[in-house]
Symmetry: C2
């Protein structure tokens, strides 16, 4: 029997509390949603569709050069549509944004940061990882964007617990948790507690699995877990007679109380399981590759702040401000690919329900800080090459760079946090965020965390103009408010990751754009020639 993501998330969410729900949602790709319906594979419109039918090519104005807008422009442009993209920023990508040396950003409170990251150093302020099965990988292939592994999990990374003020490597946490889980289940099986569930043969197979999975002792030992080299060694294996020695694990009660296992499901998630990937040189390589492909056929107008979107008798009229000048674009269609809560502020003659739908989306707060160090101490001192440390501190996670291994310098993401934690950092000026992040990071890594810092840059998405949030959530992703945006309002279409079940993923933006492209082109071709 097939089960939908929403059913599953509801099931897990009820008893697990907010923490588990959040973790599980993260692991699965965020938003619970409505009933599934298989959609046909995307067939890009072709230029020959026009030439063979004698139809004139239609003009489309696309609002926003984020991934949804760029995909729309790219796919329609290939088919010969006359495309104009209006983008308020002076770069493509939207939330796909890589901070480098020279990046300048003024947050909504008027505070400006200028990045002095060194050549080759960067922080992906927005999306930073690509699962193998996302359509984004196909666009990287098509657009020639080189990829490398994004280090989403690492056995050498840490799990920090502020209650005990201690950290363990992921490998140790897993070894101990799996060890005790195996011991307990083997014991229970041996006692006959599962005779109703499992045949004798099943029980033998289960115990054989648990012996290997948990590295536990045999029946005579009571299937005891007493540690293994999987935890890591107190004396590493070495030359000559140096066998490895490992410490005995904490008690099962201590391991359960510490609760490091709460983090384990993350890396089993559909969208988070390794292997994950990233473009070589920064996530914005995707945005710039799209830009080049779009500009080969179409126009992107940067610095164009949309003011109004109007359906007209036979098309659309969009006004925008370019510096001090107000300009107008007319087209047959408009594809609005800006965040819904931003689009909700445009003047329009769209029905009031559309405005309500746009405003129905709830922006999510999130933030990151990039810390460029002059020494890769996490590699040199901790044998930690990439990956993510989990903490119960307000920084949430600390990311080690997935590029430039063994190099002279490197850029750590000192926090990637959400909700109230992100709000707390967002409220501070950059210096305050930095001090707070360093104080927390020192708890995990010690004094080294505050040394050799060369350059820093922080992003509070709730205060980033034209985005005002990292992504949006829907109070309900099945009802009429959401559904209303899935169909055109006159000649105006809506696209974006917010209109998908991959919210906060570029794949969601691409799939939503493809839906719009398919719908719009079908409509155009269905009209009399």
């Amino acid at each position: 029997m097939a089960v939908t993501r929403r059913q599953f998330l509801q099931r897990v969410g009820v008893a697990g509390g907010a923490g588990v729900m959040y973790g599980t949602m993260g692991a699965l790709g965020f938003a619970p949603a409505g009933a599934a319906a298989a959609t046909p594979a995307f067939t890009p419109p072709k230029a020959s569709d026009f030439t063979l039918t004698g139809r004139s090519r239609k003009k489309v104005v696309v609002l926003g050069a984020g991934i949804a807008g760029l995909t729309t422009a790219y796919e329609l442009g290939k088919a010969g549509y006359d495309i104009t993209v209006l983008e308020a920023r002076h770069r493509p990508g939207g939330r796909n944004w890589t901070v480098r040396g020279g990046t300048k950003e003024t947050e909504l409170d008027g505070r400006t940061q200028r990045s002095t990251f060194a050549e080759g150093q960067y922080m992906n302020a927005g999306p930073a990882r690509l699962p193998q099965h996302h359509v984004t990988m196909d666009y990287c292939r098509e657009l020639g964007v080189p990829l490398e592994v994004f280090t989403n999990s690492n056995a050498q990374a840490w799990i920090y617990d502020s209650v005990s003020g201690t950290k363990v490597r992921w490998r140790e946490a897993k070894a101990d948790t799996y060890g005790y889980v195996s011991e307990l289940l083997a014991k229970a099986t041996d006692k006959g507690a599962l005779d109703a569930e499992l045949t004798g043969e099943d029980q033998e197979r289960l115990i054989a699995f648990l012996r290997s999975f948990g590295a536990i002792g045999d029946a005579a030992s009571g299937y005891a877990y007493t540690g293994s080299g999987r935890r890591g060694y107190t004396t590493d294996p070495g030359a000559g007679l140096q066998d490895g020695e490992y410490a005995a694990p904490p008690s099962v009660a201590d391991v359960l109380a510490r609760g490091a296992g709460r983090y384990f499901s993350f890396e089993m998630g559909w969208d988070q399981a390794m292997l994950m990937f990233q473009p070589v040189g920064g996530m914005d390589r995707i945005a710039y590759a799209f830009e080049a492909a779009v500009e080969a056929r179409s126009t992107i107008r940067y610095g164009a702040e949309v003011q109004s979107v109007m359906n007209t008798q036979d098309g659309v009229e969009v006004t925008y401000v370019d510096g001090a000048t107000t300009r107008t674009v007319t087209a047959d269609f408009c594809v609005c690919a800006v965040p819904p809560h931003i689009a909700a502020r445009f003047r329009t003659n769209l029905p009031p329900g559309v405005q309500e739908s746009l405003a129905y989306a709830v922006p999510a707060s999130t933030g990151k800080i990039g810390l460029q160090y002059g020494r890769r101490w996490w590699e040199e001192d901790e044998d930690l090459y990439g990956g993510i440390t989990n903490t119960d501190l307000d920084v949430s996670t600390i990311w080690y760079p997935s590029y430039g291994y063994n190099g002279r310098r490197g850029t750590v993401v000192g926090y990637y946090n959400f909700g109230a934690n992100a709000d707390a950092y967002a409220a501070l000026p950059h210096r305050g965020r930095l001090q707070k992040a360093l104080a927390q990071g020192r708890k995990v890594h010690g004094p080294v965390y505050g040394k050799d810092i060369e350059s820093t840059f922080s992003v509070a998405w709730s205060k980033i103009r034209y985005s005002e949030g990292g992504w949006v959530g829907w109070p309900d992703q099945t009802g009429r408010e959401y559904r209303r945006l899935l169909r055109p309002s006159g000649n105006v279409y809506f696209a974006g990751d917010h209109l998908s079940h991959y919210i906060a993923w570029q794949a969601g933006a691409i799939l939503s754009a493809r839906d719009v492209v398919t719908h719009l082109h079908t409509r155009v071709m269905g009209a009399p020639a």
Copy 2:
């Protein structure tokens, strides 16, 4: 209480049978061994050691330019020793060997292969992966060898079962196994089967963990595992209203019978847990970086087949054949860094016990085949970017490349197998190996596995001259046969991964070489000036 690797392996090995024992050994780094003894950190000898003491620099002849020989030459060379390295092959690295276009090898049966791999394509015939904590990483830093992630595990890779003739993704196998393990343990706990082991609070914590870890239902549902999106979707999440749908899992009996869980412990191993790394461009980048560093100060003589190693009154005398010419090198010391079963054939005046010790090592059979495809079908058709598929076929594993993602072509390792499986492939000429490997690979991947093949190359390590095995095992790594090689025999030292507890790893070769360097230099500096 500290436990040694040997104690642990004995514990796991006894009841688990050969399969589990092998898997566990692999996960831990191969050879069980003797009692651990902490060794001091390596302090490289310094040139000033000689200049400040007025001692004359000593002459050392190093046999073998594998990683142990190169490390010896590099560390002693930096300190000012007069080093000559004799290497039978015409390249550095020994078993650290990267097959590229132009590589030519004649196996011991006289059959020759010439690689026609395309520019940029390669297969690491020997070592292919570096754990973060191995000393090899430090040498990559010191020698300037760029690193990238080696994709040792991948949720998108397959587990193939020949009994049922089916394959599942690793993500699906894990989701189902962890799901049922969680359900069973939660049920048993709920029944009170673990009341003697766990307090009520512990039980609550355990069940909270299992709900998240296994994605199982609540108490009312009997903690039922009914699948989750972690398995993968039958209909992926998508745009608009397309929530994901996943299929119901097989029964617990089917999951246990299939036994995919037998592979899970591999990626928890001390030496195999992700993240793993590789040099950009091939593992031999390490060997060539060592070569450049050694040749800056010392001499490497390639094509030098050692014939005899003799202790003399005040040093050593080594003869070797260079083509048709027999030559002699005299030196103060010799470091023999060739595989023990090869060194056992040298003429020597060493005590008979040393010869016995060298011959005590048991070479292990292993092999690989590289399949260069003109299309990266594993990426394009299967969303599989890197990683390793496990099978119960004689190919054992299939590796997808960790470089060149989304490129025009790629080189798959069609088998990396051991023991009897490796022997069976080794017995065949290359064409026979290829046919066999393709027939097996087709079972996993279907007809695509036999298409678009541009170039192939196979290596049977048991038949590779100067190696005659992938590595060695010791019947006992604590007794006098092994111990005898840890101390010099007169002026002759022995080094190599076989004299470490990282057998088959370059780190073992490096650590053994460092031990020898330390011992030799201490001896030299202890002698009257």
